[in-house]
Symmetry: C4
Subunit: 128 residues, 4 copies
């Protein structure tokens, strides 16, 4: 690895305006379970303390969901797996703000397997 790649890269805060965990699935799990993922890259040599806040259409914001992305590691966090302070409801729209104490890079991905063949989509999150 080049020396330069080990420094902290990215931003402290990101937003994902689209969020939705499809309510059902087809195919072998966990790979093809319908899921919504927040991919967080921490290139720094310091562990990143990350906190997610979820926004909904019909209820107050929910969070923070806290976890650590270790130094020089990535984390592909499924919203499906978030439990504390509450699970993420299926089949309703939400948005997400990601806060990190060290700069990170964030990308959003969904796999939708509600029909027999899965479909995927991704976008870079919005850096704030």
């Amino acid at each position: 690895m080049t020396q330069s790649a080990t420094s902290a890269l990215g931003r402290h805060r990101w937003a994902i305006a689209e969020g939705y965990i499809p309510a059902w699935s087809n195919g072998p799990e966990p790979e093809l379970q319908s899921h919504e993922t927040c991919c967080i890259l921490n290139t720094s040599t310091t562990d990143a303390q990350v906190s997610l806040t979820l926004y909904f259409e019909d209820r107050p914001p929910q969070g923070p969901y806290r976890f650590t992305v270790p130094a020089e590691r990535t984390c592909h966090k499924r919203f499906n797996d978030l439990q504390d302070p509450a699970p993420v409801p299926r089949g309703i729209g939400f948005s997400c703000v990601i806060d990190s104490d060290v700069p990170v890079v964030v990308q959003h991905t969904r796999l939708d397997s509600r029909q027999a063949e899965n479909s995927i989509m991704t976008t870079i999150a919005y850096p704030l």
Copy 2:
């Protein structure tokens, strides 16, 4: 929710250059109806007055479509549902400019179920 996450985040104006509501669908509605969505996140403590203007290939711009995204809420607005001043024609290309009186974050998503298995795509909108 962290205190910092409640402030206004994003931009006042965004653009989505791609727009197209597929003209037919397969699968249970409303989930799997072909649709085009504009996801708008308002993290501020003030309601956002939003206005959409649509651009077409062969006719003058259409709008404004006005609606509110409440404080600390998201809105996943389907272009399929816009009615005033006129519905959005199916099966033709369009683009969209989104204006908001408070900063918001915007993401664009399509679900295309014209064939038996649905397909999805998404991108962050372009901040202006």
Copy 3:
């Protein structure tokens, strides 16, 4: 349409690093023909003179492909339809630089119908 939405928005130059026209298709044409599209929004009150330059893996750049995006219109241009100075080869990778004499917003979309069910993807282009 709001007065503010009629001004020129965006950038004069954009890039799309991914490009590929799948070599075959399934389903009714033109809707479900495999295609690669460059969506260009011109919100200004002046016609935009646009020029595309294509880059390949194994041959010199090809172009310019010139066309007009009228004032206050969008153009969803399929790379499949480009003919002058030469058609775009199918089934090989390319990239594209978009130049416009007035600011525009550009988004990239592909529909791949090589298998029985189509798949779609999109991203905002990169503003230069």
Copy 4:
């Protein structure tokens, strides 16, 4: 090609936070093999020396993977094909930092053919 399009465009460093090579495939290869691609456009008149560093969830960073993107060419590099210093494991999440000695533009694409019908996704990478 316009004179202006031949200059160096883009950035020296990019990140892709999402990475995953699906572990199996359906359909004719190489077109429909499940793959993850990093598309790199070099518009400059100088060859670009590119180096990729991969980040994982459970092990140290891996790289650099070095290759050249010739002047005025694009390169659609499949992560599947990276071999030196080590192949990229299938079916696990990763992220990627791309370094180039001349400015380039980078876009990320996946084709997932684990089920009978393929699915595609793309996003512009994050410029650093």
